[in-house]
């Protein structure tokens, strides 16, 4: 099959997948599950067709991009237009949760913000360095794994620092983790 035709067909199959998932969302019971399963499974032939044009790795990326664009288009086309003044009770029910209303204190806000930048940076880098230092494997592989893990860990620690209602909990935990990681780093460098 001509590679480009296969690629275009793959894009069309992506769109079909999204439409099946939307059908599942609107349906109920066993039909819902069947449409949902079909919608996800259809992405396999879509990936294969796209890979015929773009190659396996690039094809996977293209499939994900296409899937996102098709889904956003389907959502937009199915937009529900409402009257200008809906009932307040309906809004409250549909809005979902609000963020925590926390005790306001300027120093707590600044302290939390500073910890979210500095303490998380120290902890994530220390843990990444310590883990790379003691992990088995070739030098370059341990290094690569370490530098890839650090940003992910750092982001998760930022979320924890900003979300936890009890600020002392992440502060103490990260301080302890940094101290342990520091000891491991020292042991690695000295041994």
């Amino acid at each position: 099959m001509n590679e480009q035709i296969a690629g275009v067909l793959g894009i069309a199959v992506c769109l079909a997948s999204v439409l099946m998932l939307r059908r599942a969302w609107r349906d109920a019971g066993l039909r819902r599950k069947l449409w949902a399963a079909g919608g996800w499974l259809v992405l396999i032939p879509a990936s294969i067709l796209i890979a015929l044009w773009w190659g396996v790795v690039v094809g996977l990326a293209v499939m994900l991009l296409t899937f996102s664009l098709c889904a956003m288009t389907v959502v937009k086309v199915g937009e529900e237009r409402r009257p200008a003044r809906p009932a307040k009770s309906r809004i409250r029910e549909e809005m979902g949760l609000d963020p925590d209303e926390r005790r306001r204190s300027r120093w707590r806000g600044w302290a939390r913000g500073a910890a979210a930048i500095l303490l998380t940076a120290i902890t994530a880098n220390a843990i990444g360095a310590a883990a790379a230092g003691i992990a088995p494997g070739a030098q370059s592989d341990r290094f690569a794994t370490g530098v890839v893990i650090v940003p992910l860990l750092w982001a998760c620690l930022i979320i924890w620092m900003l979300s936890d209602r009890v600020m002392l909990r992440p502060v103490l935990s990260m301080t302890a983790a940094s101290a342990i990681a520091g000891a491991v780093i020292a042991w690695t460098l000295l041994s």
Partner: protein, 509 residues
């Protein structure tokens, strides 16, 4: 009877208290970094097309379809002849490709006058200096906000880290992600509409947003992570850590005498391309040309692969010193080589670039609606923030205007600072208007209209200047970019045109 659209309630995965707490963190992070993230995402959406913009900036650059190794050697020799040979640190030739039909020669020299890039003709002679002031400005704004190097890169790095945290916390704080998967409500409650738009784009754009956020965070904090991890894996030798990935540098030979001949590139190209069918030669470079320790680098590109390039380094005797061999490396190392192409969108051709541009704008939309949700919530709770509302409107619509104004002065002047001046003018004007209270309801519409007019004006002016020089001499990509600018102007103006038609058609009382 069970409502088919409301299945039986299951126990939620996360408690309401937990979700509210994560939402609070998500909200705080968004508020702190929203302006920076918006500007970075907006400029990012534009610089995906930097190759096309560069062709638009210099539409009369000589077009070269292919070059032979002898022409490459002519070009590199011409670069060395430009100034004192001892001062030349590196010379390189970027070969023409389907996306960029130009032969570009670059030199890095201790002498600033002879550093830079030139377009070369089919015989390899440099004929036109490369000047991409607007593209360089946009890229600079994206990577360091045009702030002094240490400050700008730290802010952008932290913004990338914040973006990654926002994407992850956004997923965790969205318990109705499946229940509301295809729900988009508009026209009723403003807060509900904004929340739906924010959450739907966030949900369905998740693969792209996660990859962008992770690669942004990685690139932003790479030097910090490199230093930390190299401490334990390479005993602090960052140079060794870097050279294991990119190959050894010949920087140590910077002061060596340049008495050795520079070998012709043909044999190195043949050696590099042997055994890799389908790879195209992307570049030929020489570090410390003429020195005993000079290094000849061949850059290869796999059109069906992800890495930007495969590098092979040789010494002047033809011995292979380094090969990136990405496919043979471990998974973690391959991830590192994939970071840049995944972030830039420079793989897979025009379709991927277009998808990146559209999804990049979706990230701008998420950032914009996120702050609007916070502002609307404050208004609903009786604590409106009108100044913040105007400042945010000035950010959302002032920046597209400012970026357009950055491109206009360069049509008339060669001054290097012209794009920065244009951008600063637009930014200051937008925020100045935001200081005026009576602009509350009109600011966004005015800035939007001004953006549409500026985009259309830029496209028409650029096309007119190009046409005046002779249609056949102009790169067809230049016309395509002008058309894209006009199309963008139309889409920016469209909601306002629909509103005006609705008010005109409303029956008079």
């Amino acid at each position: 009877m069970t409502d088919p659209l409301r299945p039986a309630m299951r126990k939620p995965l996360f408690s309401k208290g937990w979700v509210s707490a994560v939402l609070a963190g998500h909200s705080a992070l968004g508020l702190a970094f929203s302006a920076a993230i918006y500007l970075i995402c907006l400029t990012g959406s534009v610089v995906v097309f930097v190759e096309e913009l560069e062709r638009w900036e210099q539409p009369t650059a000589p077009k070269v379809v292919s070059v032979s190794p002898e022409v490459i050697d002519e070009g590199l020799a011409a670069l060395r002849e430009m100034g004192p040979k001892d001062a030349v640190r590196s010379v390189s030739a970027t070969l023409p490709s389907a996306a960029n039909p130009h032969f570009v020669l670059s030199a890095r020299s201790g002498d600033r006058l002879n550093s830079g890039s030139w377009f070369a003709d089919t015989s390899g002679q440099p004929v036109m200096k490369v000047r991409h002031d607007v593209s360089d400005f946009l890229v600079g704004l994206h990577i360091n906000l045009h702030l002094p190097y240490g400050i700008g890169t730290v802010i952008v790095g932290l913004a990338g880290m914040a973006l990654l945290a926002l994407v992850i916390s956004g997923i965790l704080a969205h318990p109705r992600i499946i229940k509301d998967a295809f729900r988009l409500r508009s026209g009723g409650s403003a807060r509900l509409s904004q929340a739906d738009l924010h959450n739907r784009i966030g949900t369905w754009g998740l693969p792209f947003h996660l990859i962008m956020a992770f690669t942004a965070a990685f690139l932003g904090v790479f030097l910090i992570a490199l230093g930390s991890v190299a401490a334990t894996t390479y005993q602090g030798d960052m140079t060794k850590a870097f050279s294991d990935l990119t190959g050894p540098s010949a920087r140590g030979a910077a002061d060596a005498p340049r008495t050795d001949p520079v070998p012709p590139s043909a044999s190195f190209i043949a050696a590099a391309t042997e055994g890799v069918p389908g790879f195209t030669v992307q570049s030929v470079s020489i570090q410390q040309p003429g020195a005993k320790e000079q290094r000849i680098g061949i850059g290869l590109h796999d059109p069906r692969g992800l890495p930007l390039r495969e590098s092979v380094l040789y010494d002047s005797k033809g011995n292979k010193v380094f090969g990136s061999d990405v496919a043979k490396r471990s998974f973690a190392q391959q991830v590192i080589f994939a970071i840049q192409p995944l972030h830039f969108g420079w793989f897979g051709g025009g379709f991927v670039k277009l998808a990146y541009g559209l999804l990049g704008l979706s990230m701008c939309s998420i950032t914009a609606t996120g702050i609007q949700i916070w502002l609307t919530r404050r208004r609903d709770k009786g604590r409106p923030a009108p100044i913040m509302e105007r400042l945010w409107a000035a950010t959302i619509w002032g920046q597209p205007l400012a970026l357009t104004l950055a491109a206009i002065p360069s049509l008339a002047t060669d001054a290097e600072g012209a794009p920065l001046l244009g951008w600063a003018t637009g930014t200051i004007a937008a925020y100045a208007l935001a200081c005026v209270p009576f602009m509350q309801a009109r600011l966004a519409a005015w800035l939007r209209a001004a953006t549409a007019v500026a985009l259309a004006g830029l496209a028409l002016l650029h096309a007119a200047i190009g046409a005046a020089g002779g249609l056949s001499a102009v790169d067809p990509m230049s016309w395509a970019v002008d058309a894209a600018l006009l199309l963008t102007a139309f889409f920016v103006a469209r909601p306002m045109l629909k509103f005006r038609r609705a008010t005109v058609e409303a029956p008079s009382l």
